[in-house]
C-alpha cells in the first residue's frame, strides 16, 4: 500500500527541515558576528542563502506527498 509510506516520508521531511534550520541558524549567527570586510563574509552569506533555498523546497516536497 503506497499510502502507508506517506507518514514516514513526512517525518523524514520534518527531520530534514529541522536539520537545515540548524544550518541556517548557526550560519546566520556566525555571519552576524563576522565584519563585512572579513574575506569569509561572502562565503558565509552563500551558505546561509543555500540553506534557506533548500528549506524553501521542502513545502513543495510535502505537497507532492498529498
Amino acid at each position: 500500500m503506497p499510502d502507508a509510506t506517506v507518514p514516514h516520508e513526512r517525518e523524514l521531511l520534518h527531520a530534514l527541515k529541522n536539520q537545515l534550520s540548524i544550518v541556517v541558524g548557526f550560519s546566520d549567527l556566525v555571519l552576524s558576528e563576522t565584519p563585512p570586510e572579513d574575506p569569509r563574509h561572502g562565503d558565509l552569506a552563500e551558505i546561509c542563502k543555500a540553506a534557506r533555498a533548500a528549506m524553501a523546497i521542502i513545502p513543495d516536497l510535502v505537497k507532492q506527498l498529498r
Partner: protein
C-alpha cells in the same frame, strides 16, 4: 544609564529559561541566540525531562519544540497549562510546521506564543522579553495575593479557637459550589473567599475580637465593621474582584436583617450566601470559649431552622447538609 540586561530594571533576578528540544544543536542554537540578554538557560531533551525540570526549577519561561519523540510539544504544553502550579509559566512553541492547523493546535494546547524555524534571532528575543515582562506582573500579583492569604492566616492564629477555620471554609465552600454546578472561576473565588472572608478582622481591636464574655451593642457594631474593612483592604487587587462580595456580604441574611448593608433576597450574590452557610456550620461544629461543639445533626437542625426563619436559602442549606452527612458517613464508615 540603567542596566537593561534582560530588559529588566536593576534588582530583578535573572530570568530562567528552559529550552526543550531533542536535538543538542537546536538547544545550543537557541541558547546562543538568547545569549546577549544574559538569561540563565537550561535544556531538556524530551517531554518527561522537561516536566521534571519545570517542577524542580520553576523556570520563568519555556521554549518548547513541537516535534519530539515521545510526548510532543503540544502534549507537554497541555500538561503545563493544566497544572495550577505551572499554568502561569509562559510557553513558546518552536516549530518547523507552518500549516495553520498546527498553529491552532498549539493555541488550543494553551501556548502563549509561536516561533517558526528557522528561528529569527530578533523575533525570538523580542517575544521572550515581552512574555517575561508579563510573567513578572503575574508574579507580583501572585505575591500580593499570598501576602493577603498569610495575613488571613495570621488573623486566624490570633484566636486559637478558630484554628483551621479558613481551610475548612474553603473546602466546604468549594464542595457546595461544585454540587450546585458553579463554574471554575466561581469555585476559585470560593476557595479564596474561604481564606479571606474575615480578613477585615485585622482592623478589629483584640479587646473586642478576643473578648470571652458577651459583647455590648457597641462592641458588636465594631465587629460588624470587619466586612467593610476587608472589602476595602482588597479593593485595589484586580485578582480578588470576585472575592470581594464574599468578604462584604457573607453576614447578610435573605430577610434583610444581616450586615453590613442589610441586603435582602436576590440582592445578596450567590457566592456570599454559600460562604455564609458554611461559615455558620463551621462555627456551630467547632468549640468556642462560650459554647461546646455541636454534632453534625444538631448543626444541620440549626441551619435548617435559620433557613425556615428566612435567613438562608433553603435549597442551598439542604444540599450542603446532604453533602456533610454523606462525608460524615464516609468518615464513620472508614
Amino acid at each position: 544609564m540603567t542596566d537593561t540586561r534582560n530588559g529588566l530594571a536593576p534588582g530583578h533576578a535573572t530570568a530562567r529559561i528552559l529550552v526543550v528540544d531533542d536535538l543538542d544543536a537546536n538547544r545550543a542554537l537557541i541558547a546562543r541566540l538568547l545569549a546577549p540578554d544574559g538569561y540563565l538557560v537550561s535544556g531538556a531533551v524530551d517531554g518527561a525531562q522537561a516536566l521534571k525540570m519545570v517542577a524542580d526549577q520553576q523556570p520563568d519561561l519555556v521554549l518548547l519544540d513541537v516535534m519530539m519523540p515521545g510526548a510532543d510539544g503540544f502534549a507537554v504544553c497541555r500538561t503545563l497549562k493544566h497544572d495550577p502550579a505551572t499554568r502561569l509559566i509562559p510557553v513558546v512553541l518552536i516549530t518547523s510546521l507552518s500549516e495553520s492547523r498546527s498553529r491552532i493546535e498549539g493555541l488550543e494546547a494553551g501556548a502563549d506564543d509561536y516561533v517558526s524555524k528557522p528561528v529569527d534571532a530578533q523575533e525570538l528575543r523580542a517575544r521572550v522579553r515581552s512574555l517575561l515582562r508579563i510573567k513578572r506582573y503575574t508574579d507580583d500579583l501572585d505575591s500580593a495575593e499570598s501576602v493577603i492569604v498569610s495575613l488571613a492566616l495570621t488573623i486566624e492564629a490570633r484566636d486559637a479557637y478558630t484554628d483551621g477555620h479558613c481551610q475548612r471554609l474553603a473546602r466546604y465552600g468549594v464542595a457546595l459550589g461544585r454540587a450546585i454546578g458553579c463554574q471554575q472561576e466561581d469555585l476559585d473565588a470560593l476557595q479564596r473567599g474561604g481564606f479571606l472572608h474575615d480578613i477585615g478582622k485585622v482592623g478589629i481591636p483584640d479587646a473586642v475580637l478576643l473578648k470571652g464574655g458577651r459583647l455590648t451593642a457597641d462592641e458588636y457594631d465594631v465587629i460588624k465593621q470587619h466586612t467593610v474593612i476587608g472589602d476595602r483592604l482588597c479593593g485595589s487587587l484586580r485578582s480578588l474582584k470576585r472575592v470581594r462580595p464574599i468578604i462584604r456580604y457573607h453576614h447578610e441574611r435573605l430577610d434583610g436583617t444581616g450586615y453590613p448593608d442589610g441586603l435582602s433576597g436576590n440582592e445578596i450574590p450567590l457566592l456570599p450566601q454559600i460562604i455564609g452557610i458554611v461559615d455558620v456550620f463551621d462555627a456551630l461544629t467547632t468549640e468556642r470559649p462560650y459554647k461546646r461543639a455541636l454534632s453534625l445533626e444538631e448543626a444541620a437542625r440549626e441551619l435548617t431552622a435559620e433557613a425556615a426563619r428566612g435567613w438562608r436559602n433553603r435549597e442551598l442549606v439542604d444540599i450542603f447538609v446532604g453533602l456533610m452527612c454523606e462525608s460524615g458517613a464516609q468518615t464513620a464508615g472508614g
